[in-house]
Each structure stands twice: as structure tokens, then as C-alpha cells.
Symmetry: none
Subunit: 186 residues, 4 copies
């Protein structure tokens, strides 16, 4: 039963996410995580200094991806094509990290003080600005927020929607683009 270095660390993260989603962050104790995993609490502490560090580690991948997306957005001119691409890429990230994203969304209050979560919030604000038309009216700003929310939260609300998930995502994206009044791509 060989086990490569820190297989355990990864299993802890997965089990933690599972339980955090099932029962909520504050209602999930490290004891429960350890038990479901079949290790001792102390083993968790060997791999993560605190419960907060564990949860922060769950947000790191999203954080990295969003940071990169924001970086890319900032390096581009503010054209409709770029804004459309930003929405598209965000939607890819959200669907790739759906469970984590959902967890953070449902536990906002509980995670307010967690480092990583603060960064993610900042990224969302940055993205909102990037998809907002230059020199925006109040209505433009509202459109930006609406479009972003649709892309971000939509998948959770639509989880049980029939049909091909990829097609649904495309439709969601189309609606979001329409909210933003992006011209149809050829």
C-alpha cells in the first residue's frame, strides 16, 4: 500500500470540501473530517496549521485562476471582444471549480475573515470593472454586475436543469453577453 508523498494532504482537502459543502463551514468540525478520513485530528494538524489554513488552501486554485484572468484582462484593450472573452473564461473557471465556488458562495459570512476569500472578492470586483464599458453610466454598471452574477451564480441555480451542461453554459453566456449589450460575434 504505497502512498506517494502527501497523498494524505490532498485527501484531507477533498474530504474537508465534501463536508463543508454538506454541513457548512462552521458546522463542520475537524473531528468529523478526521473521522470520515480515518485519521486522527492530529494528522490534520500535521498538514494544516489551523482550520483556517485548511479552508484557505481550498480557495487557492480559484484564487490563482482568477488572478491570472484579471491579469490577462488588464493587459488587454477594453474592447467588446475582450469583455466577451472575460465572461467566457470566468464561466470556464466557475464550472471547473464549481464545488469550491459554491462553498465559498454559501459560506460568505463564515469565511469573511479568511485570507484567500478576501482576495477572491477583490478579483470579482476587478472583473466587474474590466467588463464594464469605458466611461460607464449607472446603467452600464448595473449591467456589468448583472452579467457577472449571472455567470457566477447561474450554474448553482441551474444545476438541476435538464439538457447538456455545456450547451446550458453556452446559453448562459449568451444571455450574459446580451445583458452587457455586447454585439453578436460574427
Amino acid at each position: 500500500m504505497t502512498r506517494r508523498r502527501s497523498d494524505t494532504r490532498e485527501r484531507i482537502r477533498q474530504t474537508a470540501l465534501e463536508l463543508f459543502l454538506e454541513r457548512g463551514y462552521d458546522q463542520t468540525s475537524l473531528r468529523e473530517i478526521a473521522e470520515r478520513l480515518g485519521v486522527t485530528k492530529a494528522a490534520l494538524y500535521y498538514h494544516f496549521k489551523t482550520k483556517e489554513e485548511l479552508v484557505a488552501s481550498l480557495g487557492e486554485d480559484v484564487d490563482r485562476n482568477l488572478a491570472e484572468l484579471v491579469g490577462w484582462g488588464r493587459s488587454q484593450p477594453s474592447t467588446p471582444e475582450v469583455r466577451r472573452e472575460l465572461l467566457r473564461r470566468l464561466s470556464v473557471i466557475v464550472s471547473e471549480f464549481a464545488p469550491v465556488a459554491r462553498f465559498f458562495q454559501e459560506n460568505q459570512a463564515a469565511l469573511r475573515t479568511v485570507r484567500g476569500e478576501q482576495r477572491n472578492r477583490e478579483h470579482m470586483i476587478a472583473l466587474t470593472e474590466l467588463i464594464t464599458a469605458p466611461d460607464p453610466s449607472t446603467e452600464d454598471r448595473i449591467r456589468a454586475v448583472s452579467a457577472l452574477f449571472s455567470v457566477f451564480f447561474g450554474p448553482f441555480a441551474l444545476e438541476h436543469l435538464e439538457g447538456d451542461p455545456e450547451a446550458n453554459r453556452a446559453t448562459l453566456l449568451k444571455v450574459a453577453a446580451e445583458i452587457l449589450r455586447l454585439p453578436d460575434p460574427e
Copy 2:
């Protein structure tokens, strides 16, 4: 300085909401609420049987309003005008109960097991159906969810937006109607 029946009960609710918003539901203890109010924990228990009953009581007004709105919607024919009116009325409710709505939104995971919160979730689903065009395509469903989310979450994201709040709300509503593809009212 007369004090109407159960002034205290109301003050407990307000202080609780305040703290729940500041620190999150699970991170707020009854001790903290009692302390900020200058009474004993036991006093809280005189007015509310449990912490859960206290938080449930916070959702009751919203619950009543949403229930009424759903009831009204169901009693109407499914016309564009009715759907527009549903959005408008929802937006009024959200803005009237903004703090409570925000609290429930940010503490979804923590409140999943709370009676009142489950009812509110059901109301939102019912509303989604009511504003969905009859015989809907997948895209119609997506539009319905997007519109509803915009009306519901928009205010939180736009809290710091400049300009007259009433005017902003009207604009938000206009955007939502557009997402739903409701024809312009005359």
C-alpha cells in the same frame, strides 16, 4: 418613558441581526447579543425558546411578504405585465428588508436547517417559475433565473453605487425586464 409590550423582544431581534451581519450567524453567540444589549443570556431565553427560533423570527416578515407575493402571482394570469409586476414587487420587498435578505444570503450554509429559511428558498423557486414564460425553452429558464438573481442580489453589489437609490432600483428593474425579454410597457 412608557414601553410597549415586548419592546425588549424587538430590541433583541435588532441587536441579533446587527451582530449576525457583522460576524456571521455561527460566529455570533447569544452571550454577545446579550452583552451588547445589556441583558443576561437568560433574558433572551425568556423571549425566544432557542437561538434557531430567534433567527427564524428574523425571516418571518420576509417570509410573509414573499408568500403573499407568490400567492398574488398564482392568482394572476401569466402575462408579461404580471411578470413585470412580480419583479417590481420583489424588488420592493428586497429593498425594504435589505439587511435581513443580505443576512440570509451570506449565511445560506449556516441556515440550511432553519425552518424559515427553507420556506424562503421555496418562495424563490416559486417566483422563478412564475416569471418564466409559459412552455419555456432552456434559454427562457436561464433568463428567468438571471433576472431574478439580478433583482435579488443586485442591491448588495450596488450598495456603494452613487446616485439616487430609487432611480438605481428602477434601472435595475429595467435591466431585469430586458433579461426576461418583457416588452416595454406603454
Copy 3:
């Protein structure tokens, strides 16, 4: 079985002191104190916010007495009679609070960060200065420290000494006075 207000608080202090003396501060857990007392740990926390507050409370009486003694000393002229009286009064305090004094003495390192203990240390330094002859030579300083230590630690070392404790205390005091080179009182 009537019990006057906060009988319990006092019983906690006594039991704590007992155990702290038997097993040392750090080796004594609140669980042990609670068990020996027949209450729950939570009951201890009802009366003392932390373990540190509990131990600090044990030092308060000594603190008060030493503070008063230092105050008195400072209000007096620096004569041999006053210095002799300072030693005498200190010896009374030490014997009145022998268990507490011993506990603090044996757990210096563990208590270094406890508020009350810091104050007591300062009092001892102040007393050392007060019993030091004015314009002291190095030797005078050494005499002061030696005399004070004898009065303070002597009783612990002499606990098992035969003979009348009061008489022993008088002898100890006489030796201390001699160390300080105080002239015999008439």
C-alpha cells in the same frame, strides 16, 4: 443546603491553590480542579474568565498587602526603626499568606506573564530599596537583598523546624535585622 452568594467562587480559589501547590501550576488542569470540587469545568469559567485570571486572583490579597506596606514605607523617613518595622511587617504578611507566597515562589517561571505576579515582583524590588540604607555601598545592597530573602524564603525552608513557629519567626527577624546591621532596639 443554602449557600451564600458565590460561596463557590471562594471554594474554587481554595481548591485551585491546593492543587497548584501539590502539582504545580502548569501541571494542574482546570478539569482536575473542577473534579476535586465536584463541579464542571464550565462552572469555573463562570467565575473566572481564564485560568490566568483565576491564578491572578490568588495573588490579589498578597498584592494588596504588599502595596500597602510599600506605601507605608514610602511615607516614612528612612530610619533604622522604619526599616526594622518593614521587615517585621513583611514577615507577618509572608506568614499570613504562606501557601500563596510559596506557590508563587515555586512557580516563578510559569507565572512570569501573569499580571498580579509582575506587580508582586515590583513590590519586592521597592521593598528592597526601602530597607536599604541611604546612599548605599555595594555591600549595603547585598545586605538588603540577603535580609529580604531570609525573611521571604526562610519560612519555607524552616517549615519543618521544631519549636514554636512564632518564636522561630522572631528569631528569623532578629537574624535579618542583624544582616541589615540595624542597631538593637532598646
Copy 4:
């Protein structure tokens, strides 16, 4: 940069003593020692079977020296000269092992169950007897204890005293001899 046998062992002892002095025995964990040293906890266990064995090893040198001193004292006739020499030699030992001595003094309660510390306490009792005049009165016993305490604790209290440390030690010794009523040496 050759490294003699068990350089590490010695560095562990030093770091441990450092930390024990800074934070107290019970408040110092093996993790802290290992971290300050830049090794793993497991490395400590390679060199010392337990934490207790580590701390015991710190007392060994003092133990050996005191044992030897007691042995010497027992082999001598009980003359004033011998008693004076005992005080002198003790004072040399205390000043050579000042940090260790201080550590044991400040952590008495924590170390009560440590083998080495018990032996040291016995040595001190033996020394007290050796410096007590034969056929002693109560006062003689008190003098012996006072003198011994002065020699043993004095240095810690006088640490910040100005002047040449060697000269101070000599003065301390002179005072101690006077407490014991030893006649002046020619």
C-alpha cells in the same frame, strides 16, 4: 568544519536551556526547541529518550559538583574554616552554573518529579547541615539557612548590580560568613 562526536547533543542542551529560561519548562515544547535549532523533533529523540531526560541532563553537572562538595564536606572535620570553605566553593559552583541554577530555581514546581532535581535538593539539605554549627540551637539553624540562601539566590537578585562581579561575589560571601558567625580568617 569537523564536528566532534555529538556536537548536536550539546547544541540541543544549550538551546533547551535557553528556551527553558525564556519561557519556563512547561511552556517550552520540544517543537520549539527543534525549530530554534533547525532540526526535527525526532532528532531530539535520537539524542534524548524523553523531555525529562533532556532536562535531567541539564542538571547533571551541577549535581556532580554538589555531590562532590558534599562528599568533601563530609570528609572534613566540622570547623569554622571548613564551613567557610563550603560556602566559598558553593558560591563558585553557583556562579559557574548560574543559568542552570536559575532555571531550576524558577521552575521548582515543574521539576519536582524530575530525578536530578530531587538529588540537587538533597544536596542542598546536606550542605545546610554541613554548614550548621555542631549541636545547633534553633537560631543556629536559621543562620545556616539564611547564609545558604544568600549564597544561592543572591546572584540572581544581584545580577544587575554595578561593579565587578568577582568583587560582588566576595562581598556576598563575606556577608554570608557573618550571618553564620564565622570568625574572620586571619
